[in-house]
C-alpha cells in the first residue's frame, strides 16, 4: 500500500496507461455530456438547498464549504507536495482572528477582511515554510504538531488584540443591500462562490506544470531537482498558498460562527483537517469536498451516541482508511467508476 500514485486522478500525464485510458474515455462525447449534466444538476441542487433547508441545516452546509476550502489548502501541501502539516489549525486561527480583529477593532467592512486574511496567511505560511524546508517527513510533522498545540496559548497571551480567552463576538454579516437573502443564505452563497473560485484556481494550478512539480518533489525530491524543479521555492510557495486557502476558510468560519475564541483552535482542529483529507482522498480536489462532508456530518451523528464517540470514530476511520482505502473516498469512487466503465465496455448493451 502506498500513496505514491495518489496524484494520478488529476495528472493523467503521470498516471500511466490506466489513467490515460480513463482520460480518453472521459473525453468521449457521451461521457462529457454525462459529466456536464451531472455538474449542472449538482450546481442547481447547491443553489436550491438553502431555500428548502432550515437555517440550521443551511449553516451546516456553509460550514461544509468552509471546511472544503481549508482541506483543499491542506491537501495541496500534504497530499500533493508530501509535506506533513499537523498544524493547519494555526493558519485557520490566523485567518479567523485577522477577520475578527479587523471587523471588531477597526470597523473594516467584512468583505475586505477575507482577502486580507488570505494574504496574511500566505505570508505567514511562506515564512513558516522556509524553516520547514530543512525538516523532512517526521520532523515537519513534529514541528507542526507543536505549533498546533501552542496556538491557543499564543492567542490568549496577546489578549490586547485577541480578547484573551473571552474571544471576540462578531455580528452576522449582512447581505449586500438589494439582495433579498437572509444572512444565513447569503453566507451560504458567499462560501459556495469562494469555494468554486478557489477550486478552479487549485485545479488550474495543480493540473499543469506546477502540480506535476509538486508531485515530483513528493515522490522523488532528488530526481525532481535533477529535472530542474526548484524544490525549495516550490515547497515554501506551496506552504504559503496552502496556508492562504486555510486562512480564507478561517476568515469565513469566523464570519459564519460570528465568534472566535482561542480554545476552538486547539490541536483537535488540526487533526480534524487531517482526518478530512485522509477520508476524502489525499491528492484529490474532489476529495476535499467529500472530506468536508465527513467532518461536518459524521461527528454530528456520532454525538448522539456519546460525547467521546466522534473522536473514537475519527480515529478508527483514520487507521482503517490507511489500510484499505489510502486514496480516500475520491480514490475509491474513481476506481469504482473505472471498473464500471470497463464492464460496460466489455459487455455492450
Amino acid at each position: 500500500m502506498t500513496l505514491e500514485d495518489a496524484g494520478a486522478p488529476l495528472a493523467p500525464e503521470v498516471a500511466g496507461p490506466a489513467g490515460r485510458a480513463a482520460a480518453a474515455r472521459a473525453h468521449a462525447p457521451g461521457a462529457a455530456a454525462v459529466r456536464a449534466a451531472g455538474l449542472l444538476s449538482l450546481g442547481a441542487l447547491a443553489c436550491l438547498l438553502p431555500f428548502v433547508l432550515s437555517d440550521y441545516r443551511t449553516f451546516q452546509f456553509t460550514q461544509v464549504f468552509i471546511y472544503a476550502i481549508a482541506l483543499l489548502g491542506l491537501n495541496m501541501l500534504t497530499g500533493y507536495n508530501g509535506q506533513i502539516s499537523l498544524g493547519h489549525g494555526a493558519f485557520y486561527a490566523i485567518g479567523a482572528y485577522t477577520t475578527a480583529i479587523m471587523v471588531d477593532r477597526w470597523r473594516v467592512p467584512y468583505g475586505w477582511t477575507i482577502p486580507v486574511a488570505g494574504v496574511v496567511c500566505l505570508v505567514a505560511g511562506f515564512l513558516f515554510g522556509i524553516p520547514a524546508l530543512r525538516l523532512e517527513g517526521l520532523y515537519l510533522a513534529l514541528a507542526t504538531f507543536a505549533l498546533a498545540l501552542a496556538v491557543p496559548q499564543i492567542l490568549k497571551h496577546f489578549d490586547a488584540w485577541t480578547g484573551g480567552s473571552q474571544g471576540i463576538v462578531l455580528s452576522k454579516p449582512a447581505p449586500p443591500p438589494g439582495l433579498p437573502l437572509s444572512p444565513d443564505r447569503w453566507l451560504y452563497f458567499l462560501s459556495l462562490g469562494l469555494l468554486l473560485l478557489l477550486v478552479l484556481l487549485a485545479w488550474n494550478l495543480l493540473r499543469g506544470r506546477a502540480g506535476r512539480a509538486l508531485v515530483a518533489i513528493r515522490d522523488n525530491p532528488i530526481a525532481a531537482e535533477a529535472m530542474g524543479v526548484n524544490a525549495a521555492l516550490y515547497k515554501s510557495l506551496t506552504f504559503g498558498v496552502s496556508a492562504a486557502y486555510t486562512g480564507i476558510a478561517g476568515a469565513l468560519g469566523a464570519l459564519a460562527i460570528a465568534f472566535v475564541a482561542p480554545d476552538t483552535f486547539n490541536v483537535f482542529l488540526s487533526i480534524t483537517f487531517l482526518v478530512g483529507i485522509v477520508v476524502g482522498g489525499l491528492a484529490s480536489i474532489s476529495g476535499a469536498i467529500f472530506g468536508a462532508l465527513f467532518i461536518q456530518f459524521v461527528p454530528n451523528w456520532a454525538q448522539d451516541i456519546s460525547k467521546a464517540a466522534p473522536w473514537a470514530i475519527y480515529g478508527v476511520f483514520l487507521i482503517v482508511f490507511m489500510y484499505v482505502m489510502p486514496r480516500g473516498i475520491a480514490g475509491a469512487l474513481l476506481m469504482l467508476g473505472r471498473r464500471l466503465a470497463r464492464t460496460t465496455q466489455s459487455h455492450p448493451g
Binding site: M1, T2, L3, E4, T78, G82, I84, L86, P131, R134, L135, G137, L138, Y139, A141, L142, A143, F145, A146, L147, L149, A150, Q153, I154, K156, H157, I222, V267, F268, I271, L274, V278, L282, S306, K307, A308, A309, P310, W311, A312, Y314, G315, V316, F317, L318, I319, M322, Y323, P326
Partner: protein, 293 residues
C-alpha cells in the same frame, strides 16, 4: 540565588517526567524509525488502568506492577496488530495511524472514565525535605530517581543481555539480523512494548502532580518531543538529559523572562523544537543520518 536554585530543582523534577516520556519516544524511534504521536495518550490510558485497579482495592505497588505488565503486553500487541501493516508505508501513513491511535485512546478514556479530573496517589512520603533554604518535594526527588533508575536498567538491558543485543541489531541492520536468526518483527514489537512500559511509569509519576484527566498528556508530550529533539532522537541518554534540560529551561524562563511567564510555556517547547531542528537536527547526542544518493 535561592529562587534560582529552587527553580532549578523543580525544573529537574518536571524534567524527570519529560525525560521518561522522551525515553519511551526514543525507544520506539530507535526500534522502528517511527515517532509515536500516541505515546502520551498510551501513558495516560495506562495511568487510568492503574487508577481503576487501585479503586478495586489493590495496594499501590500491586497496581503499579500490574499496570506495567499490561502496558508492556498492550504495546507489543499494538505493534503486531496496528503498526505492522503500515511498517513499510510512507511516513505520512505511519504518522496518520499513530494520530488515529492518539484520538482513539483519548476518546475511549473520556468515554470510559469521563473528563472529570481525578486525584492520583504518590508512592513517596509527603513531608518536604529541606537542605539549607531549598525545599525538595519528596515526590519530585522520587520522579528524578525513578527516571534515572529506568535509564540505568535500560542501559544494562541493552548492554549486557543477548535480547538487548538482538534488539539493537534488529534496529540497526534488519536484513543482517534476519540472516543470523533474529526475529526482527518480534524485536520491533518488543521495542513498542518497552516504550509502552516506560510511558506507563511516566504517566503514574506525573499523575500525582497534574491530576488524572484524558488530556493530561498533551502538553507533556510536546515537552517530551522537545526533549527528545534536543537530546537526539537516536540517543536514550541524550533524551533523558534533554528532558532535564527542557524542564530547567522551562522553569527558569517562566520565572525570569516576564514575557513568557506561565502562559507561553508551550510556545517555548515549540521554539526549542524548531531551533534545535534548524541548528542541529540530530540533537545534542544523536547520530546524524547520512543517506547515499
Amino acid at each position: 540565588m535561592d529562587v534560582f536554585l529552587q527553580q532549578v530543582v523543580s525544573g529537574l523534577a518536571t524534567g524527570g517526567i519529560y525525560a521518561s516520556l522522551a525515553l519511551s519516544l526514543v525507544m520506539i524511534y530507535r526500534a522502528t524509525d517511527v515517532v509515536n504521536f500516541a505515546q502520551g495518550e498510551m501513558a495516560m490510558f495506562s495511568t487510568y488502568l492503574a487508577w481503576s485497579i487501585m479503586n478495586h482495592g489493590a495496594p499501590y505497588w500491586l497496581a503499579f506492577v500490574l499496570t506495567v505488565v499490561i502496558a508492556f503486553v498492550g504495546g507489543l500487541a499494538l505493534e503486531r496488530l496496528i503498526i505492522r501493516p503500515v511498517e513499510d508505508a510512507p511516513v505520512l501513513a505511519i504518522v496518520i495511524v499513530t494520530l488515529g491511535l492518539l484520538v482513539i485512546f483519548n476518546s475511549v478514556a473520556g468515554w470510559a472514565y469521563s473528563y472529570i479530573i481525578q486525584p492520583f496517589p504518590s508512592p513517596f512520603p509527603r513531608t518536604p525535605i529541606r537542605i539549607g533554604r531549598i525545599v525538595f518535594g519528596p515526590h519530585d526527588l522520587g520522579v528524578i530517581g525513578v527516571t534515572l533508575l529506568m535509564l540505568a536498567l535500560l542501559w544494562l538491558f541493552f548492554r549486557f543481555t543477548s535480547l538487548g543485543l538482538a534488539l539493537r541489531a534488529a534496529a540497526q541492520n534488519p536484513a543482517a539480523s534476519r540472516l543470523v536468526g533474529i526475529r526482527v518483527g518480534w524485536m520491533l514489537a518488543l521495542g513498542w512494548g518497552l516504550a509502552a512500559l516506560i510511558g506507563a511509569v511516566a504517566g503514574m509519576m506525573v499523575a500525582p502532580i497534574i491530576f488524572l484527566e484524558p488530556n493530561m498528556m498533551s502538553g507533556i508530550l510536546i515537552y517530551a518531543f522537545a526533549s527528545a529533539t534536543l537530546g537526539g532522537f537516536t540517543s536514550p541518554g541524550g533524551a533523558v538529559l534533554g528532558g532535564f534540560l527542557v524542564g530547567v529551561i522551562e522553569n527558569l524562563a517562566g520565572t525570569y523572562v516576564s514575557f513568557i511567564g506561565t502562559d507561553l510555556k508551550l510556545t517555548l517547547a515549540l521554539l526549542v523544537i524548531i531551533v534545535v531542528l534548524l541548528v542541529k537536527p540530530s540533537g545534542l547526542f544523536g547520530q546524524a543520518v547520512v543517506r547515499r544518493v
